[in-house]
Symmetry: C2
Subunit: 134 residues, 2 copies
DNA sequence: CTAAACTCCGTACTTGAGTACAGAGTCAAG
DNA sequence: CTTGACTCTGTACTCAAGTACGGAGTTTAG
């Protein structure tokens, strides 16, 4: 058997799917609970998944990879159903702005630390520690 | 009474200290549990704090503001006790590198999103949504 | 046929930095 | 002296995105 069902698409148990997707079995069920993954058809008492499920997990991971949360990803998936491009663009735009802010904040931190390090190198009293004394 | 104790330093109950430091009462106790804030002297059964406590909270917030976790801040506070400048520098340096990585990652996300947005603006099939279909 | 491997469900735990709350005790002003 | 504001301790909850686990049921390879 080459793990194909009658429709010719691959047929996975939860463990196979998890392996194929590179995630944990528990993660698959977690996504299902969160409504990100459609209920699989069940043969007997075990879940049976197809390639659509595998693709969906891959999508979720890609979306996460570019900074969408699971809630946002769920939104995206709904937009997909609605074919609502405008909202998808707005979501992406908001996300870009959000990331921009986070970068600004991190750069601020970095400059503060770099300043501390630089002034530390020169004089005796360590300014990193001196922070502690107001 | 102007809220000074015999040593001439201000004397705070936990609520006053929290107000003065701009944090929550629970946060003060939390810092205490975490060992970031020295045990205050207690008059009767209530905690009594001094300016040193206020300054320490301010330090903790500053350290957080530039990206130190509470654990790292505790470390910094210990270094302060040891006057160990070298380690403080190393800690700061590690933190800078860490922040650099996070910035790189965020920038990667941002570019991916910007690319999606740009290609979306042009053609019909929305690539943000198309992500969902592999 | 049997034993290992897999799956089921539900619940609890994880990290980090707090926040919320219950129920009891205490303090200070009027 | 009372009343209201404050504080005490200890525990549980928050968010996000899972991970871990217990105990039972199911499947499949040998």
């Amino acid at each position: 058997m080459d793990a194909k069902n009658h429709a010719g698409t691959a047929d996975y148990t939860i463990g196979k799917l998890a392996d194929a997707a590179g995630v944990n079995v528990e993660t698959v069920r977690y996504y299902e609970r969160r409504g990100l993954l459609a209920q699989p058809t069940s043969q007997g008492s075990y879940r049976r998944y197809g390639d659509t499920h595998l693709e969906r997990i891959a999508f979720i991971r890609r979306a996460q990879g570019i900074g969408f949360t699971l809630d946002e990803t769920a939104e995206l998936l709904q937009l997909n159903d609605m074919a609502d491009h405008l909202q998808a663009r707005q979501l992406a735009q908001a996300k870009i702005a959000d990331i921009e802010q986070r970068i600004q904040h991190l750069q601020g931190m970095q400059h503060a630390l770099q300043h501390l390090l630089k002034t530390c190198r020169m004089g005796k009293p360590c300014p990193i520690i001196a922070m502690a004394l107001k």
